[in-house]
Amino acid sequence: MTSGNDQAERRWITRRAALLGLAAGSVVFSAPEAARAEDEWGKLVAAARNEGHVVLYSAFVGLAAHQNLKKDLEAAYGITVDILEARASEVRERIRIEQAAGRFAVDVSENGRTTTTLQIEQDHVFDPHGMLPSAGRLKAEFRADDIRVPVFAIVYGILANTRLVKPDDEPKSWLDLADPRWKGKILSDDFRALGGGGVLFYVLEDHYGRDVLEKLAKQDLKFSREIPANERRIARGEYPLYVPVSLTSVPELKGLPVKFLAPREGLPFIGYDLALLKNAPNPNAARLLMEYCIGQKMQQAYANLGLLPVTADPLSGVDPAVAELGKSKLLGTTDPARMDQLLALARQIYP
């Protein structure tokens, strides 16, 4: 018996010693690597300052945080940021034709995940971005690869008119939308198009299957594409419910009789990615911009607007209501490879 115990203890000691040895070794070996990485990054920042300029094409039209980005990067590094905004397909086509024509005018692309994936697979317009110090702090659901870096996500919920929907009647689940009491009373972003409506359709189909969507089709949903106007229509009492509404609306609609509802299953979301363009005229400034966007200051700016930050950094000063809602479970997002197929299905179910 004693010999058995001795053997087990000896094995444990050996294992522990090995582990300790490994840990010590990694510290010894990684310290110079960390220093090297810091040194490389320092050289990049110096090169970026020399370049002094960076151009970003963004598919998020009117994003207020772009002003923060311009001011901060110029103040911190002396780099002027030019941002050109257009819709997703317009940004994509602009980049594609410029690359095809050899006009290298843009450094960084900021676009939805679906479009960025198409650009990677079909247009081949990006270069690897290289090491970014903050990439290690990205949340598990927003991992970067060597081409793209997640920068923020839009999350979607339900908007309810508080005068028409009593708290007890509020939908608690996405499936509650199929309740007959809401027939003819739901205004919706178009399920058959890219955007929030398409994301919601995709995620519901992915989680609950076609049946739920066919039940929803019987609810006589009113599709409308003009999102700002739609939100105000709910506030005016034209309809009691609107789906899907972006969390960014919460700070914008403060003071109106509306409420953002987060169903218990979670919130569908769509991520936005940054990517470095091939032959970027200012590659160092571009990488610095990408790093800055996933840094704490910009992530804080995104959170203040109701966008979901992608890093695990603790943030302060965010509107408590928005911060609370931002902690809701995430239900899922789209797979770019299947998106077109699902849009076709949507057109079938909602002709």
């Binding site: 994003l63 397909s89 317009e90 086509e93 594609r96 034709i97 024509a101 009113k222 594409r225 700002p228």
Partner: protein, 636 residues
């Protein structure tokens, strides 16, 4: 037998031909101080004369014996070589502005991938177009456009007649006011009408329910009726602007002659007045019909919720809402539409060919208005009602809404000036405004000049190539804006790098000129159609060059139409988005892109502020325009 130039001059204006002239040879037709100058003028006159409908100069000009620059220029003006060179230059310009971007789109419609990407040529795009579903959608689109064009034309003609040919009180002010809806961004009027006419809580329905005690909501703006009504907000003032000057420029003696022969007012209107302005009417109707087919905002706002599908929303979806974008399908659909619209335009040309619509001749006339007696108050009331419904109601919503925190929520504690502060304190807004004003002024002026030249050649000459020029000028109007914007992007980006257009403000300017030329050509064509040839001939006979005649006679007489066209093109540039969003670069942002950013970001209130600013600009421009027109007409 060909008449000598002397005989032609005598026929043109016998009294003036002999004024202060020596009775020797051709000298009597030119009051010139020296014989050398007289001789210089004689030969160019021989070459340049006879631009009447019956006689065109075909012979090459003779080289005058004076070798001065002026003589050489005069010769160049008149020779067939110079005309051919001029037409060729015009063809090159129009080809670059219209054929080049359209050829990019044609490539896109026949190739599986856009330019610059590997792919194959096929007809998949066209095959996808020719489905039963698309045919139904096309019929739907045409039906909606017809349903809005016909009543719009009737109302526009009535308004134009009232304000240009009758003694209705306050015509000047009413003329400015009834055209205001055209200049308001469609998103804003859609928002306003959405609030006024929605079946749940719309103001108009609430008023009806209050007045009648009923619980019904008779008005539902989210319907075919709503789509058509919203489209009419633009087409009525648009057609009014194209027609009103045709009414104004008409010699009333033609109508007086009809009345003296016993025709009633209605018969005179029907058989004389309307027929004489047929070129302006048909152009306006066709332009409006085409615009109706290409209308995007009205079906998007009011049609989508009601399940109404039209071609433009389908094209928009295929580019912006599909993954990946379906450029081949979108461009193929656009070309099918363009082919159909071209047939309509050719039909119009056939209907108008060979007919004389001259209403302004060398004989003097005084524009008079018809006295309506006590009926003038009825016509005044009609105009005021139109203004109240189409301007006061929606613009009133915008004005009030701009002073409250949220559009449509009128609570005292929400009164604010923050939207005005945000707009006027925004450097991006002022940059966009400045760029747009610059592009608008330059673009409208260049477009009208180009349109004036194209229209002159097309209407007033029988030069070879004029049909080609006219068709080329029309083409951009028939292509949906969303697709044409892509054509410009592809076209300019793929130019050789040595040509510095892409990424500069020039790209926007050229795109705007291309988009505005069809309108400017139609406006000037209608104006030229009304001018008699004897006025031009008289000018030429008395020694004026072609350029002088164009400036002092043709443009001067067509000035009211030129001014109207200028305003239309200018404000079209202010509102143009499809090409702007694809061609603007950092630093050359324009107002429409600024509006898009604000709207997409939920700032409907700031968009209202900018919309109201645009209305103030319109009122100012139109007031100046009408003052100038009045001054010009009073000197005729």
């Amino acid at each position: 037998m060909e008449r000598s130039w002397q005989e032609k001059a005598e026929c043109a204006n016998p009294a003036r031909s002999f004024a202060s002239a020596k009775p020797t040879g051709a000298e009597k037709f030119c009051a010139r101080p020296s014989l050398i100058e007289l001789a210089e003028n004689l030969y160019p006159q021989q070459v340049n004369m006879a631009i009447s409908a019956d006689e065109r100069v075909k012979d090459p000009g003779r080289v005058p014996f004076a070798a001065g620059l002026r003589a050489r220029l005069r010769v160049l003006e008149g020779t067939a070589a110079s005309r051919t060179a001029g037409v060729a230059l015009l063809v090159v310009i129009l080809a670059f502005l219209s054929i080049y971007p359209l050829s990019m789109l044609l490539y896109g419609s026949l190739h599986s991938t856009p330019p610059g990407m590997a792919g194959v040529f096929n007809l998949d795009g066209y095959q996808a177009v020719l489905t039963r579903q698309n045919l139904v959608m096309l019929l739907n689109t045409v039906g909606i456009s017809l349903a809005k064009t016909i009543p719009s034309l009737v109302i526009a003609v009535l308004l134009a007649w009232i304000l240009a040919r009758t003694d209705t009180p306050f015509r000047g002010a009413l003329e400015v006011l009834v055209t205001l809806p055209f200049f308001i961004p469609p998103i804003l009027t859609a928002m306003a009408w959405g609030m006024l006419g929605n079946p749940q809580v719309g103001l108009l329905n609430q008023l009806y329910q209050w007045a009648t005690g009923s619980s019904n909501s008779p008005i539902n703006v989210y319907s075919y009726g709503g789509v058509i009504w919203h489209m009419m907000q633009y087409s009525i003032p648009f057609m009014f602007l194209l027609i009103v000057d045709a009414f104004r420029a008409m010699d009333p003696s033609l109508e007086e002659a009809a009345r003296m022969c016993g025709a009633s007012r209605w018969r005179t209107f029907r058989t004389v007045t309307l027929l004489l302005i047929l070129p302006a009417l048909s152009s306006a109707a066709i332009l409006s019909f085409i615009r109706g087919i290409e209308n995007f905002e009205s079906p998007l706002f009011f049609g989508s919720p009601a399940g109404i599908r039209v071609i433009t929303t389908d094209i928009y979806d295929s580019i912006n809402q599909r993954s990946p974008p379906q450029y081949q399908y979108a461009t193929a659909v656009s070309f099918v539409i363009m082919a159909l619209l071209l047939l309509i335009v050719l039909l119009q040309w056939k209907l108008l060919r060979g007919r004389n619509f001259t209403t302004v001749s060398g004989k003097g006339y005084s524009p008079t208005v018809m006295k309506l007696g006590k009926w003038r108050w009825a016509t005044f009331a009609f105009c005021v009602l139109f203004f109240a419904v189409t301007v006061v109601l929606p613009v009133g919503q915008l004005l009030i809404g701009s002073f409250f925190k949220f559009f449509g929520f009128y609570q005292w504690d929400m009164l604010t000036l923050e939207h005005y502060r945000a707009v006027f304190g925004s450097s991006e807004f002022w940059r966009g405004f400045g760029n747009t004003m610059l592009l608008g002024l330059a673009g409208a002026s260049l477009t009208m000049v180009l349109g004036g030249v194209v229209a002159y050649i097309s209407v007033r000459t029988k030069w070879r190539g004029r049909m080609l020029i006219d068709v080329m000028a029309w083409l951009p109007w028939m292509m949906p804006g969303i697709v044409l914007g892509v054509g410009f992007l592809w076209g300019f980006a793929l130019l050789p790098h040595a040509i510095p257009i892409y990424g500069t403000i020039w790209a926007l300017l050229l795109a705007y000129i291309s988009l505005g030329t069809p309108l400017s050509v139609q406006v000037m064509s209608s104006a030229y159609s009304q001018l008699s040839y004897d006025i031009e001939e008289c000018s030429r006979v008395h020694g004026a060059s072609w350029l002088q005649t164009m400036r002092h006679i043709m443009i001067a007489l067509a000035w009211p139409s030129f001014a109207v066209g200028w305003v239309l093109v200018f404000f079209g540039i202010m509102r143009e988005l499809s090409a702007s969003v694809l061609l603007y670069s950092v630093g050359s942002e324009v107002l429409s892109v600024v509006l898009l950013k604000l709207w997409t970001n939920g700032n409907a209130e700031q968009v209202s502020v900018i919309g109201l600013m645009m209305i103030v600009l319109v009122v100012l421009f139109r007031w100046v325009q009408l003052k100038v027109i009045k001054a010009r007409i009073s000197t005729l």
